[in-house]
């Protein structure tokens, strides 16, 4: 059934467009396609678009080897609290676990702030007289009568699904899993065991993992089933993989079991694509810069590896599963420009969205947005937006910006352009400060990184941002607008496994650690065996959280294959501690925290597309006035599709393509490489 060398298709469902990338290994080609999204029924755009894509590529449904697909359905359901009606069963005495959470308020300075809305209302939380001790012995067992009572209460609640959490359940996941199965049998409901799905210490966070899973599971089940059926109807029987928040992917069956692992897959795919593309281009440390309509995101890729976070915020709720660490840094193209009562100019946080959109969209927007500034400054061509499919109203944008200018004391001929340049300066400074903070939290210096922009506005704004933060190099991928779909098409299979140990590091516990790793690896291998045959090669990554006894925080230490004995594990920790804090406490006892194992099934690499070598000096298709530092410059305008490998363009210049426009500022130049990436570099001065 498996067609190892057939076409792989990556699909990213966004708010406006569903993007497709088809990789055909026979002729090393990549084919892109965009279909308007159908938010009311996302699988429709996917199925319709796929048909058009196959037509465009000239291949039959049977020739498709794999479909890699990312979706935000789960994420949206959580943020909008539109998930299933679920019940929660917890150890007696902990009915308020979601109300209390970690007991913090979102702001200590705003006494009108309120706490997040709990995922499960209190009346749908049932206590059960069962728990374990911290050392893993069962101290309270729910007997027959207690189990019947809980089952009856659950049935009376009329819920779609149930989550279960026992205090200290993480110490022996099988105990809780067994209870979950018994409850499922008695109630006929799906019961997610927190300890089975994520056996990490910290009851609130683990409960949330189980609740989130149960909350989106019915919805995702429905979606996956509909998708599979729809594709099969069209003759596509290829395995479907769902991209995951950790940058990897899961089979449809795994994703249906553990949908919570897929909720942040969209941005993760983009970052993974950037990491792979940059490595192939010989750039190993990048900051990705995804600028879309409402916001901009960055992620750090250091030495080829995208940074993972184990604490992320999902609509006010903390998620502890490892996810590609993406940080919002502020404005997007739709962010609104305004002047406050004290005459200070502001950008965002309100966004004009797609409707009414920026003033220049002509859909009724009256407040200028960042995109209107690009227009007023000559950055983008009013007739070239979305490949010319959507003409923009430049005059309206300028009029709205002139009004902003008047409010901050700018008048005369260039008031609109000066207001626009000011607004972009405010926007860029805001992004730069957030970027600095994100890197400072990790002890990294942005100047040692290259910027890799994607998304509709990324390449337009990248040079401004690089200039502001002192980055000297920018790499712009060929299809910046459909980048997440490309990332999906190339995703490896990956699942993360954990087990919390919480004990001093001794010869004995080092042995236990090895046993735990062996168990997790067996679990991982069994999982990969079930996922199908996409994986060409298996790889295991091991790490363990450790600390000096009495310390308040843990360090995650990667362990190599041979690092097994207590002394070796201790040394790995000392070295990491020394690297980050500058000293080691060789005399202090070390404590083991959570053991972590990632099982990766590497899929076939997508081959690089290449473009023809340069035919000499590139020819501009025209020129355009560009406003910069208070004066109009003349910039040559190039068409990206006509550039050859090795072509070099000096700024100021504008490079246009269907889905975005690249600005090259004075003092910078752009060079095309054989893989059709644009490399922007600052001249040595």
């Amino acid at each position: 059934m498996m067609q190892k060398h057939g076409s792989r298709i990556g699909i990213d469902v966004g708010g406006t467009f569903t993007d497709f990338v088809l990789a055909d290994p026979r002729n090393d080609s990549l084919i892109y396609y965009k279909e308007p999204s159908t938010p009311d029924e996302p699988s429709r755009a996917l199925i319709d678009g796929l048909k058009s894509l196959l037509e465009k590529a000239g291949i039959s449904a049977g020739e498709v080897a794999t479909i890699m697909h990312g979706t935000t359905i789960g994420l949206n359901a959580i943020i909008q609290r539109r998930g299933a009606s679920i019940g929660l069963v917890v150890t007696k005495g902990y009915r308020d676990i979601l109300e209390i959470a970690r007991s913090r308020m979102p702001s200590s300075f705003d006494f009108h702030a309120s706490k997040e809305q709990p995922l499960v209302a209190r009346y749908r939380i049932v206590e059960i007289d069962a728990r374990l001790s911290a050392s893993g012995s069962v101290t309270r067992t729910a007997d027959g009568a207690e189990l019947d009572r809980v089952a009856d209460e659950l049935k009376a609640l009329n819920v779609d699904a149930v989550a279960l959490m026992l205090i200290n359940g993480y110490t022996k996941p099988s105990v809780e899993l067994d209870l979950a199965e018994r409850l499922a049998r008695k109630t006929g409901l799906a019961v997610t065991s927190a300890a089975a799905i994520w056996p990490e210490i910290r009851e609130y966070e683990r409960t949330l993992v189980a609740c989130l899973n149960a909350y989106i599971q019915p919805l995702m089940h429905g979606y996956f089933a509909g998708l599979k059926k729809g594709l099969e109807r069209d003759g596509v029987h290829a395995p479907i993989l769902i991209t995951a928040s950790n940058g990897g992917s899961l089979s449809l069956a795994s994703a249906a079991d553990r949908p919570v692992e897929t909720i942040l897959s969209g941005p993760a795919s983009g970052v993974m694509a950037a990491a792979r593309l940059a490595s192939a281009a010989g750039v190993t440390s990048i900051i990705t810069f995804d600028m879309g309509g409402t916001s901009s995101d960055i992620a750090v890729v250091n030495d080829g590896a995208a940074a993972l976070a184990t604490r992320t915020d999902i609509g006010g709720l903390p998620l502890v599963l490892p996810v590609i660490d993406v940080s919002a840094i502020g404005a997007g193209g739709g962010s609104i420009i305004w002047v406050d009562d004290h005459g200070v100019m502001k950008v965002g946080p309100r966004s004009a969205g797609a409707v009414p959109g920026p003033v220049s969209y002509g859909r009724g927007g009256t407040e200028p947005a960042v995109t209107d500034c690009y227009l007023a400054l000559g950055y983008i061509d009013p007739n070239g937006f979305l490949g010319g499919r959507m003409p923009l109203d430049k005059d309206a944008a300028e009029a709205a910006l002139a009004e902003i200018g008047a409010r901050i004391g700018l008048d005369g001929q260039e008031a609109a352009a000066r207001a626009a340049e000011g607004a972009l300066a405010v926007t860029t400074a805001g992004m730069a400060t957030e970027l600095y903070k994100t890197l400072a939290a990790r002890g990294l210096d942005p100047a040692t990184f290259a910027l890799l922009p994607f998304g509709g506005a990324g390449p337009t704004h990248a040079n401004l941002l690089a200039e502001e933060v002192g980055i000297g190099r920018i790499v712009i991928p060929p299809a910046a607008g459909t980048f997440c779909a490309l990332g999906a098409a190339a995703a490896d299979l990956r699942r993360d496994f954990v087990r919390s140990l919480r004990r001093p590091l001794t010869a004995e516990s080092a042995q236990v650690l090895q046993e735990v790793f062996a168990e997790l690896a067996a679990e991982g291998n069994a999982w990969l065996d079930r996922e199908g045959e996409q994986a060409e090669r298996r790889r295991i990554e091991r790490a363990v959280d450790m600390r000096y006894a009495g310390q308040a925080y843990e360090l995650r230490v990667a362990l190599s294959q041979g690092c097994k004995a207590a002394a070796a594990v201790a040394e790995a920790f000392h070295v990491e501690h020394e690297r980050i804090y500058g000293f080691r406490d060789a005399g202090t006892e070390i404590e083991l925290g959570t053991a972590r194992l990632a099982m990766v099934g590497e899929t076939a690499k997508l081959s690089q597309q290449t473009i023809a070598a340069s035919s000499g000096k590139p020819t501009p298709k025209g020129e355009r006035r560009l406003f910069r530092k208070g004066v109009w410059l003349t910039a040559a305008v190039y068409e990206r599709a006509r550039l050859g490998a090795g072509d070099t363009i000096k700024g100021p210049a504008i490079i246009e393509q269907d889905d975005t426009t690249t600005i090259v500022l004075p003092g910078w130049s752009a060079r095309t490489d054989a893989a059709n990436n644009l490399h922007l570099e600052r001249h040595q001065s």
């Binding site: 005495g93 902990y94 009915r95 308020d96 676990i97 109300e99 209390i100 970690r102 913090r104 308020m105 702001s107 200590s108 300075f109 705003d110 006494f111 009108h112 702030a113 309120s114 706490k115 209302a121 209190r122 009346y123 001790s133 911290a134 101290t139 205090i167 200290n168 993480y170 210490i201 910290r202 009851e203 609130y204 966070e205 406050d340 009562d341 004290h342 200070v344 100019m345 502001k346 901050i408 004391g409 000011g422 607004a423 300066a425 405010v426 400074a429 805001g430 600095y436 903070k437 400072a440 939290a441 002890g443 919480r502 308040a552 925080y553 980050i580 804090y581 500058g582 000293f583 406490d585």
Partner: protein, 659 residues
């Protein structure tokens, strides 16, 4: 303002980010619990006047935005590049530090040979010596018992650590390595701030950066004035009590008259009790100190969240804090647990503001933060000491909104400990960590529920500490006819034959098998409970925040078979006692005020504060002994007859006249 709109927006953003980047550097490289988990630290940029023009918004302690660095800077004389000042002494830093564990550092930032700004940071370090581990204890009577006092000194001279200062520091802490780790992190933060400020100057010029420091403060001041202009002019008085001063059973009074006029406010704490002989004094040095103004800053920020955080916020605030009082003690008063008093000061500010802005301000929050600590024998003759949970209550209700259950960010916004990590590290089984039904004050909008923590001890001869327990006597008050929240309680072996109900404890010894139950107070309700939407009451009962009995007794809502019994409810509601200001505070406070009336106490405290320190305490104790001896032992928990009350009032009047 001098700068144009765009430059001000850009520099405002960048400079605030410099302070946040300093914080992130400190947090990343810091070592101790206070840095990593509770974020008890902050960093900022100060202008040549020593006031902060850039302060972090999203990380660290937000309340210290009004601190002043100038007295500390002036204390050390001339400064050179690479110098860093260190201090922790409230008196010698003139209120920059407010208790000794807070280490404060200031580095002058030079540009072309002249100081252009100062970097500042502070960390609550683990231990600076003194009588007890971690240095703070409520029952310390003098600052000399609280650890090493560090007057403003140069920790660093031209980039090198002063060896003598280091020797003093190391010799005077139980945890010198951890302290030095935090000190290194602070130095790293100051360096990060210096570098980023240099970069900002190279981008925008020194003149623009210096001008922005002034303009940003002016901008925040404008906004603060604009918000305070919305407060109806007038004087609003309010008083509240701490249950006691931790050493005696005498309640401690905090009184305030807040006068709003044309966008400014004068906070007059005259009438507040004299300084106490324990560690709850707030060393404000008579300045509009963070601990005395927090709620005003929060008001500005709540009503205009776009206000930049900087010293300009305090521009409209004037303060009178009588010297020798709880809120401006004289040296050598102990100050280690000044936050306990600060919580009540916050309540008093909230209460006074509530009279001016009844529809904006909430009722009292639970008003207590109790780090429940266990010290269990470690089997080697010592004890393992660890926080079980930092216990808080809920927030007060306000017009249109119920209070928040089980959360309270009023004074600190600490995260709790996962029960599983506690159980993994200590011999304890936590059997209940939950909300406390019916504890939220009844009202048209309900106060937030307090919490219950019950744990079973697994080791004999274990000590339990509940420092910071408050509101065991005087309830978190309701507002606008709302009812007060339930009182705090401490119960040993609840529901067992050996059950004991205890009051405030300092250290309690328990044995294996004993259970300890902390019940934190509920927060105050807002508005007449009889006017609460019956559906909201039903929802609370369905969810278990209110019991059926509570619904009937406090709201007059009768529920049968999960539905409202409309007829019985109507009957019951008409029979509810009317709401008024007196019963918003609870019966204990009502009884107390019946003897210790506001105007008499104002007069007495004015006289007491004027007396010399030693005499002050004696006279106050004598007065209370004389008055309280007419009343039952557990007054005001229980009432007294009319005759006794009258005799008590007469004695108080006589005492007042004698001053």
């Amino acid at each position: 303002m001098k700068l144009d709109s765009v430059t001000l927006a850009i520099l405002g953003n960048k400079l605030a980010a410099v302070s946040e980047e300093m914080c992130l550097t400190l947090q990343r490289t810091g070592r101790t619990l206070y840095v990593k988990e509770t974020a008890d630290f902050a960093c900022a940029l100060a202008g040549l006047d020593g006031r902060f023009f850039a302060y972090p918004r999203s990380i660290g302690v937000s309340g210290f935005v009004g601190l002043e660095c100038l007295p500390t800077i002036e204390a050390v004389g001339s400064l050179e590049p690479g110098d860093v000042i260190l201090t922790n002494d409230p008196y010698r830093s003139v209120g920059l530090s407010t208790h000794l564990p807070d280490l404060h550092m200031i580095e002058p930032y030079f540009h072309e040979g002249r100081i252009i700004a100062y970097g500042w940071c502070f960390v609550h370090c683990s231990d600076v010596g003194g009588r007890v581990p971690s240095s703070i204890s409520p029952v310390n009577t003098e600052i000399f018992q609280e650890g090493l006092r560090i007057p403003p000194v140069k920790l660093m001279k031209r980039g090198e650590m002063t060896p003598e200062v280091r020797l003093f520091l190391d010799a005077n802490s139980r945890t010198p390595d951890a302290n030095m780790g935090d000190i290194r992190a602070m130095l790293a933060a100051l360096t990060a701030g210096r570098r980023r400020l240099e970069q900002t100057i190279s981008q925008h010029g020194a003149e623009a950066v210096a001008a922005s420091a002034k303009d940003l403060i002016a901008y925040a001041a404008q906004k603060a004035h604009a918000v305070l202009k919305r407060v109806p002019e007038g004087t609003y008085s309010f008083s509240d009590y701490l249950d006691d001063d931790a050493a005696t059973r005498l309640p401690v009074r905090v009184a305030l008259a807040a006068t709003f006029k044309d966008g400014t406010v004068h906070l007059d704490f005259t009438g507040t009790d004299p300084q106490v002989a324990t560690a709850m004094n707030i060393p404000s040095l008579g300045r509009p100190h963070a601990w005395l103004t927090l709620r005003i800053l929060a008001l500005v920020n709540t009503l205009d969240p776009t206000t930049p955080l900087n010293a300009g916020l305090l521009d409209p605030v004037r303060i009178t804090a009588p010297e020798g009082s709880l809120v401006n003690p004289q040296e050598p008063a102990a100050t280690g647990v000044r936050h306990a008093a600060a919580i009540r000061v916050n309540d008093v500010l909230n209460g006074a503001l509530g009279k001016a802005l009844p529809d904006v301000m909430p009722a009292a929050s639970s008003g207590t933060v109790i780090p429940v600590v266990m010290a269990e024998p470690n089997g080697h003759g010592g004890r393992r000491v660890q926080v079980v949970e930092p216990m808080i209550g809920g927030t007060g209700a306000r017009f249109g909104r119920d209070g928040v259950d089980g959360r309270d960010s009023g004074i600190s916004n600490l995260a709790n400990n996962p029960v599983e990590t506690v159980e993994a590290e200590m011999g304890v089984e936590i059997t209940t960590y939950a909300l406390r039904p019916d504890s939220g004050g009844a009202g048209q909008w309900r106060g937030g529920c307090g919490m219950e923590l019950t744990f079973r001890i697994l080791t004999d001869d274990t000590n339990v500490l509940g420092r910071g327990m408050e509101r065991l006597l005087f309830r978190p008050w309701g507002a606008n006819g709302g009812k007060p929240g339930a009182l705090a309680e401490l119960i040993i072996n609840r529901g067992q034959p050996t059950e004991r109900r205890l009051g405030k404890i300092d250290v309690l010894t328990v044995n294996a098998g004993d259970t300890v139950t902390f019940l934190t107070p509920g927060a105050g309700g807002w508005g007449d409970p009889a006017r609460r939407d019956v559906e909201a009451v039903l929802r609370d009962v369905t969810n278990g925040f209110v019991t059926m009995a509570g619904a009937a007794a406090n709201y007059g809502v009768v529920i049968k078979d999960g539905a409202i019994d409309a007829k019985a409810t109507e009957q019951r509601r008409t029979g509810l006692a009317p709401s008024n200001e007196a019963n918003s505070q609870g019966p204990e406070r009502e009884r107390w005020d019946a003897v210790f009336g506001a105007s008499t106490m104002d007069r007495i405290n004015r006289s007491l504060v004027a007396l010399p320190g030693a005499v002050r305490q004696r006279r106050r104790t004598e007065m209370f002994q004389s008055v309280l001896s007419c009343l039952p032992d557990d007054f005001p928990r229980s009432g007294a007859g009319d005759a006794a009350m009258q005799m008590a009032r007469d004695r108080l009047a006589a005492a007042a006249d004698s001053f």
